[in-house]
């Protein structure tokens, strides 16, 4: 039995709490049943999700009836949404009323189930449960194919190492379409905990009022969240209900890691740094609480049921400590691979439980791993993966030759012609990221080698 199939066992326990309402597990299952009655067969659905009752209801209903949802953030750029639609031709869309044209087949609160004009049903692999985007922001049609087994194994493992119980009460701080946000929902529903749903950000008074009023015990954050918490002097705030903070979605600098590890320890809050990827369902490692200070800057050890190792350029396993190699993970939460078109949805497992993370890491003598770099050209911006080559090709489509580089939370774009302001508008429009994420500079010419490849190492001199 899987967690989403047995919600009823928690009966009258609170499942979902919002500012206005509270649903028990039994009530959630009733709402789920109503939605389930609307779809007969296994098919593909676009599930537009925010942190609200409707989205969770839809998500659970789809999993229960083995309908495959593509989880999409409603703030997605409309052109990119249209292209995703065109690529995957879903049979239904579960979205806020008025989000897209079409007659509502069923309405629940502020959401409507729209039957699309796509008559054909995509062939779906029997194990396929869920599709998630890897970089919500660049709208790439590349989705990660997660299985029912993946979701359950990862939820079980997370609940185990975080010792989640039915008394926990997370408050949402991350989008539900984002693997980390979703993993918090999964692992808590598994244990019969109540989830406080809000779309308000940490920078809003209403978020903190809700956290206090509903007695939240935990929340998660990406590195940028911790920058915000620092700015908010979080460690000086009085929030007695809060017991656990988690962090993932990119590398937290050692300084910030240490500051929160120490500050939280003084406040009696468990601070758990974790590491994961959508390709591994969500989580792959964590730093156990007792090591949060002594191993600050580390991504910790593999989660229960998982295993890490490092490989050098020749693909040989590195056994000695303190040598850098590519981080490789093995576990039941490693997904089946990617899809880039509808036909891919019929494909089976392409990874065989082994994920090459693309991150370069080292392991210390105690077996703790540290990320030191990346093999692939992407950045983490406010927790979102941003593929630099994709940005360059998006800009090219808009008529700009650009070189994209930078570091996490800071994309540097180099232009040899065109207006930086115009490029900034295009970038924020396409990615939905705040403008402060981009620094755009004009340079005389983009340095290239003889075959035309951009020489990124030479861009630094233009900084």
């Amino acid at each position: 039995m899987t967690f989403y199939d047995k919600l009823e066992q928690f009966g009258e326990k609170k499942a979902l709490i919002t500012e206005q309402e509270c649903l028990s597990y039994a009530q959630l299952q009733i709402a789920v049943n109503d939605l389930r009655a609307q779809i007969n067969d296994r098919c593909l659905v676009f599930c537009l999700c925010s942190n609200n009752v409707e989205s969770v209801t839809g998500y659970i209903a789809f999993l229960q009836m083995r309908v495959v949802p593509v989880m999409i953030n409603p703030v997605i750029n409309r052109e990119l949404f249209a292209s995703l639609l065109h690529t995957y031709e879903p049979n239904y869309i579960w979205a806020p009323k008025g989000f897209c044209p079409g007659q509502a087949r069923y309405v629940y609160k502020d959401y409507a189930l729209i039957k699309t004009e796509y008559g054909q049903k995509a062939e779906l692999h029997p194990e396929l449960a869920l599709l998630l985007t890897t970089s919500g922001s660049t709208g790439s049609p590349k989705l990660v194919r997660q299985t029912y087994r993946n979701i359950n194994h990862n939820a079980e493992s997370i609940a185990q190492y975080l010792t989640i119980s039915g008394d926990d009460r997370p408050i949402t701080t991350l989008p539900m379409s984002y693997t980390y946000g979703l993993s918090i929902i999964n692992s808590h529903l598994l244990k019969g905990a109540a989830i406080i749903l809000t779309n308000d950000s940490l920078m809003e008074k209403s978020f903190w009022s809700l956290l206090k009023e509903k007695q939240a015990t935990t929340f998660g954050g990406v590195p940028y969240t911790y920058e915000m918490l620092k700015r908010l002097r979080f460690l000086r705030m009085y929030l007695p209900s809060l017991k656990v903070l988690t962090q993932a979605g990119g590398r937290l600098g050692k300084e910030l890691h240490l500051e929160f590890a120490q500050g939280c320890a003084e406040k009696g809050i468990r601070f758990i740094v974790m590491y994961g990827q959508t390709e591994a369902t969500a989580r792959m490692s964590y730093v156990p609480q007792e090591y949060s200070i002594s191993k600050a800057g580390s991504i910790g050890i593999s989660i229960p049921g998982g295993k890490f190792w490092l490989e050098n350029d020749n693909g040989s396993v590195i056994n000695e400590p303190d040598i850098t190699g590519e981080l490789v993970y093995h576990g039941n939460n490693v997904t089946m691979g990617y899809s880039t078109c509808q036909e891919d949805l019929a494909k089976g497992d392409e990874l065989g439980g082994i994920l090459r993370t693309g991150d370069m890491a080292r392991r210390d003598e105690d077996g703790f791993y540290y990320i030191v770099g990346r093999k692939k050209r992407f950045l983490k911006v406010y927790g979102n993966r941003v593929n630099l080559d994709e940005l360059e090709s998006l800009l090219q489509k808009s008529g700009f030759e650009a070189a994209c580089a930078g570091e996490d939370d800071h994309v540097r774009i180099y232009l040899d012609h065109g207006e930086p302001d115009e490029v900034l508008k295009i970038m924020t429009g396409l990615t939905g990221l705040n403008r402060s994420a981009f620094e755009i500079s004009k340079i005389e010419s983009i340095p290239r080698n003889e075959s035309g490849k951009i020489l990124y190492s030479e861009l630094g001199q233009w900084k």
Partner: protein, 79 residues
């Protein structure tokens, strides 16, 4: 630069908006750049410009251009 000019500059530079947009309609999320990330940038810009440190309650309650003006007086910044 006067204090009001400094206050205005922080908004205009952080959110890339014009002087005409600095009015009572300018509230959190009313312009694209004023999201949670932009909010933090604004607070940082104001703290730097006036060499002050906002209280947590004021940071999360700093929800509009007008309301922010009221808070500034609390930090002995006369606009």
């Amino acid at each position: 630069m006067t204090n009001l000019e400094k206050y205005n500059t922080a908004f205009m530079e952080t959110f890339d908006i014009t002087e005409e947009q600095l009015n009572s309609d300018l509230v959190y999320q009313s312009v694209e750049a004023w999201d949670s990330v932009g909010h933090m940038q604004l607070i940082a810009a104001l703290e730097d410009a006036f060499d002050i440190m906002f209280d947590t309650d004021d940071i999360v309650d700093f929800s509009s251009y007008d309301k922010g003006k009221e808070f500034m007086t609390k930090y002995e910044v006369e606009l």
